[in-house]
């Protein structure tokens, strides 16, 4: 409740400040999706427009921050959203920086998947990679100690994962019904988390704990097969992150261990990503940088698409005036014989406009595997961003 009022307070203050000691910026994103493999009765294309407003206002030692998303979609109601991704008040107190309201936070080191990134719920229906998140209604505190940076989190209510409509993409084709919770307070149950991150020499390290509702639901088909029931488990977990930064080689590790209690009982789980990124700076006597990425994912939670993925990728940074870059990642799970490839390319058109092309391709031999259900969800997306 406190976080709700803080969020409202932050929004009202941001809107009513007569002398604005801060900044307001916006981004208008117009997006076209094409689904070359779409199944009968599902959308062959999608059109959406998103407006993002960033604003902050400084007081003497405090700050109010807002990041608001308004997204309209021609057909997919699951993708439509009005969201205060961030709307918080930050103030120093007793050596800590306190944040009250909606906040977005990132934990993790890896490229293909971040198993320790537990604070925010995913705005999965946005299908916008890692940046598609919902604000966490929270009170959090941060303090820089000799041993590193300490974060303490209290998250006051749960945000459900967003899903696309059943005839939109990506979707299993079955509508998602109302959520069920392992915790008796359901959506109102409190979450707690803490993280200590530090670096020494070439090493960046972090450890974290989480007690709360798992962000990813377990999806089960209801008795007559007409809907999917998302079931949110109680999760107690410990996370660990490490990165070694060498001259041209980055080594990355993140892991999450713990238990999940759900309708199907209590289970210990482990999820981890280990990775390497090797960069040829100034490759082929040009100013290009070519990064080679290799990661292995392990995840034995029932929500995971597969138990073990091998991921390989190439990142190409052209270092030109237009900031052109390109990322290709391919994931393969040999056990379930399913694979996934993604491609991302972006460049600046002028000072206020940029364009991004993304595409996702799913491949699976069996219809029962996770990607089998997504087999008609291959997508090619073109996004034009205008900054103001």
């Amino acid at each position: 409740m406190i976080t709700y009022y803080a969020r409202c307070f932050a929004i009202v203050l941001l809107l009513t400040q007569p002398a604005f000691a801060g900044k307001v910026n916006g981004t208008l994103s117009s997006r076209l999706d094409f689904y070359p493999d779409h199944a009968d009765g599902t959308a062959s294309e999608g059109r959406s427009v998103e407006v993002k407003i960033d604003a902050f206002h400084d007081f003497d030692k405090s700050r109010i921050v807002g990041e608001f998303i308004f997204r309209g979609d021609k057909k997919d109601s699951g993708r439509r959203i009005t969201e205060a991704r961030q709307a918080y008040f930050r103030s120093p107190f007793a050596g800590f920086d306190f944040f009250v309201g909606n906040r977005q936070e990132f934990w993790g080191k890896a490229e293909s998947k971040n198993v320790v990134d537990v604070i925010n719920q995913s705005d999965a229906a946005a299908n916008d990679g890692k940046s598609g998140k919902l604000g966490a209604p929270s009170i959090s505190a941060e303090r820089y100690l000799d041993v590193g940076n300490l974060q303490l989190w209290y998250i006051s209510s749960f945000r459900e994962k967003t899903f696309n409509d059943s005839d939109a993409h990506p979707s299993s084709g079955v509508p998602v019904s109302s959520a069920q919770y392992a915790r008796k307070n359901g959506k109102d149950a409190d979450d707690f988390a803490a993280r200590l991150s530090s670096f020494a020499g070439d090493w960046d390290l972090a450890g974290s704990v989480f007690y709360g509702t798992a962000r990813d639901p377990i999806l089960s088909v209801n008795s007559n097969g007409s809907a999917l029931n998302p079931h949110y488990a109680l999760q107690k977990s410990i996370g660990f992150e490490a990165q070694y930064t060498g001259d041209v080689t980055l080594l990355k590790w993140e892991s999450l261990h713990g238990t999940q209690s759900s309708l199907i009982g209590a289970h210990d789980f482990a999820a981890a990503v280990a990775g390497i990124e090797y960069t040829y700076y100034g490759a082929f006597e040009t100013i290009w940088d070519i990064g080679l990425i290799g990661e292995i994912q392990h995840d034995d939670r029932p929500q995971a698409a597969a138990n073990q993925f091998g991921v390989a990728g190439v990142r190409l940074v052209f270092n030109d005036i237009a900031d052109s870059n390109f990322l290709f990642l391919a994931s393969l799970d040999r056990k379930t014989d399913q694979s996934f490839a993604s491609l991302e390319a972006s460049r600046r058109i002028n000072d206020v406009t940029s364009v991004k092309l993304t595409s996702q391709f799913y491949n699976a031999r069996t219809a029962t595997s996770t990607f089998g259900q997504l087999s008609d969800d291959d997508a090619i997306t073109l996004t034009l961003n205008i900054f103001f």
Partner: protein, 261 residues
């Protein structure tokens, strides 16, 4: 013909001997130490920077960035660069902890993800923001990062200058050597010729419009880098210099990257 060859050989040998006689690593190091000591005590500084990138046809595009620097004592300076435009990189921030002998520690903040990424600092020779400045050009210049050789005295723009060769210690540097013109009166750098790893002239940087702050610290308001091999040019125009603003070392920790605006 034979006599001509001998004469030329003698002339070259004499020139080499004379240059060798006057060239002095000790004096080069003394000059570098004096220049460094004259800038000691600035504490911290901030500035607004407009970066103007020009292609060989003269077409230009602008970027606006803010710079914050915290003076290091035992180690090198700490600096934070915040990007205000173009729009797609707005809010991106680059933090660098310069080391005197070791590789620098560097982090990049990506605002869309709220993610702080540690990056490898061996990308020294790579272009900074697609400009003609490389990462090592914009990094804080520490005495320990080069070996020196004083070459000669020379007048430049009406000022008596030392001409000193700076040889980067780090083999990952994009340069074999730099020739630096520094005025004798105030030890301010006015021009640098950068030679690539093949010892071909790559770039020339000129420093213009010097102003003195707090009666001690000289800062140039216009840096012009010309790439002789591509014909491209980048200008950095500095404004609104502020010194001793009260920033602390804590403002340059990686956790504060998320809070810069």
């Amino acid at each position: 013909m034979k006599l001509g060859t001998v004469t030329m050989f003698v002339a070259i040998a004499t020139a080499v001997m004379i240059t060798a006689a006057f060239a002095s690593p000790e004096k080069g190091l003394e000059i570098a130490i004096e220049a460094d000591s004259r800038d000691k005590g600035f504490g911290d500084s901030t500035a607004q920077i407009t970066m103007i990138l020009m292609d060989k046809y003269g077409q230009s595009t602008e970027r606006t960035i803010r710079n914050r620097t915290f003076e290091g004592y035992n180690e090198g300076d700490k600096s934070l660069v915040i990007f205000d435009s173009p729009g797609d990189v707005r809010g991106t921030a680059f933090l660098s902890h310069t080391k005197k002998a070791d590789s620098d520690d560097q982090w990049l903040y990506l605002p869309a993800l709220k993610r702080v990424k540690r990056i490898a600092s061996s990308n020294k020779a790579g272009p900074f923001m697609g400009s003609e400045f490389s990462y090592e050009d914009i990094a804080s210049q520490e005495v320990e990062k080069y070996t020196y050789n004083y070459l000669r005295d020379e007048e430049l723009n009406g000022l008596e200058c030392f001409v000193v060769e700076y040889d980067p210690v780090d083999r990952k540097s994009g340069y074999k050597r730099q020739i630096v013109w520094m005025d004798k009166a105030e030890y301010r750098v006015h021009k640098i010729d950068f030679y690539d790893r093949k010892d071909a002239l790559l770039k020339t940087l000129t420093y213009e419009d010097y102003n003195q702050y707090l009666d001690k610290f000289w800062r140039s308001n216009r840096l012009v880098m010309i790439n002789h091999q591509t014909g491209k040019k980048t200008e950095l125009v500095f404004a609104d210099w502020k010194f001793q603003t009260g920033m602390t070392e804590r403002d340059f920790e990686k956790s504060t990257l998320k809070r810069t605006r």
